[in-house]
Amino acid sequence: MKPRAFLLLAALALGGAAALGASGPATVDQGTITGDALPGALSEFGFFADPAGQVPVSGVIPYRLNTPLYSDGAEKLRFVYVPPGRQARSNGDGLIDFPVGTALIKTFKFNGRLVETRVMLHRADGWLALPYRWNEAQSDAQLALAGARMPVATPDGGQFSYRIPNKNQCKECHSVDGKVIPIGPKARNLAGDWLVDMAATGRLDTVPEGSDAMPLWEARGETDVAASARAYLDANCAHCHRPGATASNSGLDLRWEQDDPHSYGVFKRPVAAGRGAGGLEFSIVPGDPEHSILLYRMNSAEPGVAMPELGKAIVDKDGVAIVRQWIGEMQQ
């Protein structure tokens, strides 16, 4: 090594240590991700250099989804950590195949305050999903195995009861064929530039075919309505409404790739909807959103009627609007 390069490295290391305290640069605690325990505090993982500011340590990479899952209007911050020396594998336009040791981290923020952080840990025996609830001081979040409720103010001055899901409820959405899996990071719903960076840094083997295909949610007014609506249904509904998942027995399949209209709801009768059907006969009646069960249930916040069943206290007006427009413009 050339002396100058050595000095530069030393200076960088010292600078890092000075910024982060005497213990050296903060790193993720790999053993906490892959161990057997259910860590009691989020800080045990070491994902964040500044927890309150949600500033991640090196190796914890922020990302966004083109079309996200709506969660009562929460602002969401997403991060992925792939262990050094390991590499995620592309899997077409679908879910990226992350190696053991990976952590997916999602923080929920309301009105500038951190409320909850959910982590998905890829352990040797499969994925584990755990919810953490932030403390008053915003210094750390504690494991909330059984879930919790907390009051959250809405922008219009109201208040609602926000639900932190319990560990089993995490699995209700994150499960296919009895196995826990991630939902969000499908290549089709990830930005092309981000995937290029991930590949360039060696964290991903290659940029997948068909990536970045789902439209940007905020551009939904300017793009193909059907694509926006189908992307919304894929991101918000299809983790349950697909074969092998929690709502498989309904026979409704809302995945992006499902191209059989009856399977995604057109003139499909309800099976076990009960009063959730709202007196309507079909999931989707082309050209007639007000007679479509799908829209009726999206547009309700009443338990037993509301879809999604979990993690919803507030109707997503924007989601309802795009799905209404899509059904309304369907050929009758």
């Binding site: 195995l145 059984a146 879930g147 919790a148 409720r149 009861s161 639900r163 319990n166 560990k167 089993n168 409820q169 699995k171 209700e172 499960s175 009895g178 074969p243 929690t246 498989s248 027995n249 026979g251 009856h262 499909k268 009768r269 309800p270 099976v271 076990a272 909807a273 009960g274 009063r275 959730g276 059907a277 709202g278 007196g279 309507l280 006969e281 069960i293 009443e302 338990p303 037993g304 069943e309 979990l310 993690g311 919803k312 206290a313």
Partner: protein, 403 residues
């Protein structure tokens, strides 16, 4: 020798109950939601979670995802999971693991379904009560006891009332026994749907819209319902007006239906007492709606009506022109009603000689009942026994609750 004996003993013991199995008691009161849910999450296979006596006020759905766990209360009137204030989830309790036993507790006023077990093989519901306390209302949840996509289901000595669809509903499953249970004031008392190898025995179904339903529907992941025995049940006075929310398939069930078979293959209805079901004691029909599913056979095939006892039925039918029809038959419709439809290959319906019956004689599947030309029932008698092999839940499930 001694050591070996000891080892064998330990082995025998651990086979039955893991040595580390624990009993975890959860009492009603402050924080019941979190304490009970945490116990359900932290349970290890083999554990028993015991609910104390009292009313558990719950704000959210509960769920169990650990195999081989027993959830036991102090009795169906003593330990009550009260979901009146429920704010989230599609059911009161959700079970997604195998070899679970639920017993001796009640669920009241869940916002959606009562207890749902999905993909939960070898599950036992024993002495479970699910009640919507406001009576039969369309705003009640759909199903009380709701096992689906499971192999090995036993529902025993349970009670459900108020379900706006079916009290006890078993769907897309196989190897099922529903026995010794009381279902009342539901739209359907008991419903077996798209399921195989089911025994419905020794139940009391009363004051529902329809007592016991055996359905096979199109467009579901699991198709081809059949091999169902409905035997030794008391099905009486199912007289509640249909209160299903419109749009649901059971919304078409007529008030005063005793036992209803729609589509399906190999169903035995035998040894039941059918009393005061004022539309039909027994009704056998094809699927009534249009469909596109090519896998689906909409007709009943091999439905056998054996020796049942009939009294006082058919005198106030919930059918278009029902009054005139009843008069034409001398004041009451005969016990067995068939829509007259079959697939033309397998006989749709076989009835013990001497059983009173009539046929609507519909011209085709999906036809309006007004197109029928009602007449006497003319179907063959069963030639021999059917379903005489083992039908129902595996023996292990029955043994689990043998006392």
């Amino acid at each position: 020798m001694r050591i070996l004996k000891g080892a064998a003993l330990i082995a025998a013991f651990t086979a039955a109950v893991p040595a580390w199995a624990e009993t975890i008691t959860v009492e009603a009161g402050e924080g019941a939601q979190e304490r009970l849910q945490e116990a359900l999450i932290l349970a290890a296979p083999g554990d028993e979670i015991v609910l104390g006596a009292g009313r558990f006020a719950l704000s959210d759905g509960l769920s169990l995802d650990v195999d081989n766990v027993t959830l036991r209360g102090a009795g169906t009137d003593e330990s009550v999971l009260d979901f009146t204030g429920q704010q989230d989830a599609g059911e009161g309790l959700l079970v997604t693991s195998d070899n679970v036993t639920l017993r001796d507790f009640a669920v009241e006023n869940p916002k959606g379904d009562g207890i749902k077990s999905k993909g939960a093989d070898n599950i036992v519901y024993h002495k479970i009560r699910v009640t919507w306390t406001g009576g039969p209302l369309s705003t009640n949840g759909a199903y009380g006891i709701y096992p689906v996509e499971s192999t090995g289901v036993l529902v025993d000595s349970s009670m459900v009332s108020g379900a706006s669809d079916a009290g006890i509903y078993v769907g897309q499953s196989r190897d099922i026994t529903v026995r010794g249970s009381l279902v009342q004031y539901n739209v359907a008392g008991i419903e077996i749907e798209n399921s195989r190898n089911a025994l419905v025995e020794g139940n009391l179904a009363t004051h529902n819209t329809g007592g016991i339903l055996v359905f096979d529907l199109p467009g579901l992941p699991v198709m081809g319902g059949g091999d169902v025995k409905v035997v030794g049940n008391l099905v009486t006075t199912n007289d509640t007006a249909n209160f299903a929310p419109p749009g649901n398939i059971v919304g078409g069930v007529k008030r005063g239906t005793g036992i209803l078979v729609m589509a399906n293959e190999n169903v035995l209805i035998d040894g039941n007492l059918l009393d005061t079901n004022d539309t039909a004691q027994i009704m056998v029909v094809a699927y009534t709606l249009p469909f596109t599913d090519e896998r689906y056979n909409p007709y009943p095939r091999g439905v056998v009506v054996g020796e049942n006892l009939y009294q006082n039925g058919g005198s106030n039918p919930d059918l278009e022109g029902g009054k005139e029809l009843a008069e034409a038959f001398g004041g009451a419709l005969p016990a067995v009603m068939w829509d007259g439809l079959g697939d033309g290959q397998t006989p749709a319906l076989l009835v013990m000689a001497g059983t009173p019956g009539w046929s609507v004689n519909l011209p085709r599947q999906g036809a309006d009942p007004a197109e029928g030309t009602p007449g006497p029932l003319d179907v063959p008698a069963p030639a021999g026994p059917i379903l005489d092999g083992h039908v129902g839940a595996p023996e292990e499930l029955l043994a689990r609750i043998a006392e």
